[in-house]
Symmetry: C2
Subunit: 458 residues, 2 copies
């Protein structure tokens, strides 16, 4: 039996197993889910063993554990370092889910659950590809090192100390992961660039306590109004970020890359349909894909203050809060950008309030040189596994680990994306196309098979 036949014979079992994984509410940002995150780590370690990764360990950290494993490292075979994460975003707002976030449900060829696309479903693709190879070929045909973390959605803080401590043991010929999206349905994609992410929280403190807006209104600073004014000062009318020096270090796009991006089979009309607004917006002088992939941004992610319940409360609140983030592109230094953003926000505030500015996390951007041989092998495997033409793309999201590993280990990073742009990662009704899930397992198995057969070294 070929590995492809084996995979086709096990579709039901694979899907059943993935549903078990998705039932674990491993929300890493929430203290109350700490146990669930532990459970997910244990689940992953068991499945790794059955995928042929004999030596597996759940490594405890000051927060959530990571799972590390290795196959027996046979000489003369290429070694890949496989990465994934088993933690998920919070599922709120719960009332917007058609079916509950942690009760996986299949509708119209899609599997709905928090984590289905980001990243449990895509991680499971690799587990099943390896297992299928082991069961059909008697062994996993390549050397595998695998590192699956539980803190990707909260900045991967403890992953990095593990990596630094074990950097010699982690040596590999390539880093492989699936935590990105295809350009569009039916267009298998390899991502060669990601934006970096800095995440900030602002707290504006005005009056010592909440005040009656009738008795005090008109003579005291209102933290909501002041926060709003500061936020309004973060972009100009051409949607450029007004933080001084924000764009100074951005490496400009080459003409050839702009041309390649412009020629991709990507439809703005499809994108508009997902977004569902009357009018897109963005930085002048750049195409939509360039804005999404290659230009830095500053986005508001949350805001709150004062009375937010039903009905009326005539209050001037003591405090107002916002969460915001910057996406960064090659050339920009996250630490420097964090300082620039904080400085700009503080300059926008009047003396009547005080401000607490917290940098919750920082992360580097990354771009790969996809002329390396392994990218060609990956592209071919995707085209065979899906029966479609595959493409190289960049992505606007962030996987801090990729840029960090790239600069530490100096190895190619191969990002095989099996998600779709409209699959609501981080939003209600997150889902994964079953076509892409199974196409992913087939392609990944073919990719690992090819690497094993055509080694010894990349």
């Amino acid at each position: 039996m070929t590995v492809i036949e084996f995979i086709e014979n096990h579709r039901t079992a694979y899907l059943q197993e993935l549903k078990d994984f998705l039932r674990i509410p491993s929300v890493s940002t929430r203290e109350e889910h700490k146990k669930d995150v532990q459970e997910a780590a244990k689940w992953v370690s068991e499945k790794l063993r059955s995928a042929g990764v004999q030596s597996v360990e759940v490594v405890q950290t000051p927060n959530h554990p990571l799972v590390y494993g290795e196959t027996a490292q046979l000489p003369g075979r290429p070694t890949i370092l496989l990465y994934g994460h088993y933690d998920v975003q919070p599922a709120e707002p719960l009332d917007q889910w058609t079916t509950p976030p942690f009760e996986p449900a299949v509708r119209d060829g899609n599997l709905y659950a928090r984590g289905s696309a980001d990243d449990k479903g895509q991680l499971h693709v690799h587990l099943k590809a390896l297992e299928a190879l082991r069961k059909t070929e008697g062994e996993v045909p390549i050397n595998v090192k695998v590192i699956i973390e539980g803190e990707e959605e909260i900045g991967s803080k403890n992953l990095w100390s593990f990596v630094l401590e074990n950097r010699h043991g982690l040596k590999a010929d390539a880093l492989v992961l699936s935590d990105t999206s295809m350009l569009a349905r039916g267009v298998p994609s390899i991502t060669y660039g990601l934006r970096g992410l800095n995440y900030y929280q602002i707290e504006i403190m005005g009056p010592r306590q909440d005040l009656h807006s009738g008795v005090f209104g008109g003579a005291v600073p209102n933290p909501i109004a002041i926060l709003a004014k500061a936020i309004a000062g973060l972009h100009d009318s051409s949607f450029r970020v007004t933080v001084p020096k924000f764009y100074d270090d951005v490496i400009p796009l080459s003409r050839s890359e702009r041309k390649a991006i412009a020629s991709l089979p990507w439809k703005e009309s499809e994108f508009r349909k997902i977004v569902g607004v009357a009018e897109l917006c963005g930085e002048k002088g750049f195409s939509v894909l360039e804005r999404l992939w290659c230009r830095p941004t500053l986005e508001l992610n949350g805001i709150w203050g004062g009375y937010t319940g039903k009905g009326e409360k005539t209050v001037i609140p003591s405090k107002a809060f916002a969460k915001l983030s910057t996406r960064l592109v090659p050339g920009q230094d996250p630490k420097k950008i964090a300082r620039l953003v904080e400085g700009h926000v503080r300059r926008l505030l009047p003396k009547s309030v005080t401000c607490k500015f917290d940098v919750l996390s920082t992360g580097e951007p990354w771009v790969a040189d996809y002329r390396h041989e392994i990218f060609g092998k990956a592209l071919t495997s995707l085209e065979k596994g899906f029966g479609k033409k595959a493409v190289f793309v960049r992505e606007g999201g962030s996987i801090p680990f990729v840029s960090q590993m790239h600069s530490l280990l100096k190895i190619p990073c191969v990002l095989l994306g099996f998600g779709l742009p409209d699959e609501n990662a981080h939003a209600p009704n997150e889902h994964l196309s079953l076509d892409n899930y199974f196409g992913g397992i087939r392609s990944t198995a073919l990719f690992y098979q090819d690497l094993g057969r055509n080694g010894p070294k990349l």
Copy 2:
């Protein structure tokens, strides 16, 4: 025994009874407190009977009940219409209360509880003044009609239909109420002006659903940023409201009134201490008291959207919300102002989002002519009851009922304020000074006694 002696002998019992009243969490804006609001109405009706108001009725309405009562109307005596409210503001944020909002506690001569100042404590002053007169003089010396509502904090919607239906029965020589503040500790005050209040809620709808801020950031409208920009466009740098025509109908202050206000025993330093900010703010060209009492304002009361939990969530939210209100002064028409504010907000929004603009309530401003004889009697009673010089003041807050009753019945409205500006009405740790509570009972009893003795008609 004089009525003053009687009152002094019953301090402990009065305070005990007021605490019972304050234990009822009659939060009118919250569906889950509907029963408590009913209970508070029943409590009020019982205390009215013991105050000598023989005929009392709890009048059910489509929402919360109101309590209506009358003494036997004896010819030749002046008739007052007494107003108050037994509903209270929500108590949130609960964690900022030193003792729980519905467990009354005395500390440093103050009674702490939600509703202690606004308005249960001040309403109780009148109940005990009437009762003391009845017990010492054998009967209440004036004719009393009394209307106590349970919807003051949510716009008094059903009060008004009751008043219109019963307008002939409500005829009186004056409206009397206590739901305002003294200018400062030791300065008994009669309020002759109130601002009107319009309350609005804005909902900004952008993307059809929450989106990943990495994958979509840079090309789609962000409802938080757009809402913030609109809010920033509601005031100019001199803190004037930028809504076109907002100030057009404002009746300017007379020189003599500005002079009277400037000469009041009011200290900006005390006000600053309550507010606790490095710098006050407000409309150029007006004193702090003028800004608070005589100038219209637009204040933000609440804002929310996106992720507001702990940690990070990289989301562009589908929606963002704000609650805001305008305080209005004589000359301004609430309905017209509501239209102007809505129009201005809509003009500030880009086509990329839609907006739901709700006017939750509107309310007229009010100013009295305090040269009427009854104001002199009230001033004298306050000076006797407190042993201090009393003053006439305006107030920045709103009591829609006062302006409505004034234009309907064309009678003087006498607002005896026993609160203090730092008593946190609408905020955590609301409290009432016991000196003012008992001084209030004494003054009010003397006022009603004087009206009865020196009738027949005002």
